[in-house]
Amino acid sequence: MNHEEIKILISAYLDGEVTPSEKDIVEEHLRSCESCHKDFQMYRAMSSSLKKWTNESLSPDEEINVQKRFEQRRAPMFTKRRVAVFTSVLVAMIVGVMVQTLINRQSMGRLTSSASDVGDQYADGNTNEIRKSTQYEPSYMQSDYRARDGEQEAQYIDSSLGAVTHPVEFLAARPVEVNARFMGMSDAQLAAPGFNMARAYASSPINYQSKVRKTGMVGLLVEDAGKTQVELENVIAKYNGIIVDSQFNQSTEERAVPRQNNRMYTSSGTVVFTVLPENLRKVLLEIRKLGDVILENQNGEDVTQQYLESQQRLDNDQQIMDRFHKILERNIHNADGVQKIDNVQQIESEMEELQSVIQQDKLSLTQTDMATMTVSFYEKSDNPFKSMMNKWPMMFQRSYEGFVNAIGIMMVLFSSLLPFIVVVSLVLWAALYLIKKYLK
């Protein structure tokens, strides 16, 4: 430790700010160094001289002045910051409530409009469109009701053949003559007192299955749309179905699968076919294997009356035909000469005509309850990046629309709240001014 360092230590020693070891060093040095000892004495004397600079006090006026100044800074109840925070919270709450109300009103409006849309569709008789939106429910769609033993209770029974039995209420809604024929009874029997429709229906020995014409849709997500079209046509042909329409659109552009916006497809196609009701289930089972089912629905229409009418017409035509056969036979055996030839020719031409009518009757009878199905198939897009890129514009558009809507709502709110904000600001400003003035 050099002399200069020890001098610094002497000063600290005077203030009692040295460690014990430093104290030893200093004390030893002071004993041996005359000049440092002198300095030490000098410092000590000087310290008491310095005390001569007497302490001052704030004068009473100065004290009041000082107190006034810092008490002004005391956090008053209405600081600018507090007023600002309070006002913003208030405004935010009001805006929040207004937005909430507006959103509620908008969504209510939307609900009302969608309900009226449904109503309109019902009014138009276009109920199929609505039913289509419900997802496929096999147990409900492919089954129907059957009343048991006169009870009102209904039971679901499978009816894959397309022929279904009906509940009592349904029978009661039909014209009596249809039911009479349907159940193998006369009108008089049905109209007799004490007749119980349900009992008669349940105990009837006749297989009174009614006819239902089914229509439906199947949506498939497939690997290869072109291949699917061919496979579909093969399945339909296998079950003697008739292809009504078959379309295929080759495309590379990605589009969102209907009702499945997170999935994209490129190529797509549609096949419309009719098939005998008894084959419908088998066809559907095979179609479902061709891809991922994204939509399936079926609707049924009771065509029993039409069926019975067609059958009656066919029966009548058959009877007429039988009669023609008999007449023709009689003419061949009994008639003579020219007349015979004329009669035969006339009858034969009539029979030919009738034969075509019978053919038509048979066709219409078969077609009455033929199921019509529409199969739409979409080729999966296997490029996740591309599908994401395709979604971007849509997402951007949605967020942009949302932003624009929000700005619109804010503008409306702001314009409606402006007078209120102005009044509140003025009142607050006046209050602040008064408080400030009062405090001063």
């Binding site: 203030d15 001569k52 600079w53 302490n55 000082v66």
Partner: protein, 194 residues
Amino acid sequence: MSIEEIDDQELIRRFYQADEDALKMIFKRYKDSLFNFSLRYTGNRADAEDAVSHTFMMLCEKRYVVKEGASFKTWAYTVARNLCLTKLRSQRKLYSLWFTKNDSEEKQSIEIADHGPIARDLLHDKELSQIIQKAINKLPSEQRQALLLKEYHGFSYQEIVQVLDCSLEKVKVLIFRARAFLKEVLPPLLKEGR
């Protein structure tokens, strides 16, 4: 326990919980010592008054955080010292506009002290006080601060470290240099005064 026996930290905690008496007590405790420190440092009563009110303004704005190891005393002196420094700097700027660059810093500090209503006029032991003041005013700023805190306010070296925001070694050196300087300057002045 009377309010006078309560320590600073507790008083301030109470003041923060809206106890007016606690603030009054703190003000009573520190108003004069802060005033004296600022007055001796700046040599100007108005500036010293400002420094005291500024320190208590900061307290009212709850700038002081009550916590272990953060003494109110050192905090208050630091705030007052910073304000004094700002005042002196602004005065020095004004001064430099009017005086040539050849003037020494020592002269400036004495001149500055003469600008306002000066402390010495108000001292009862006028003559002696003037001499000591003149000598201390000749000290460089940091040495003056360290010496004032040590000699007049009984600060320990550790507390001075906190106020000046420097190392302990530096504080030791500052006080030693101040004393060494006064040792040379003060005796002749005292002789002249007699």
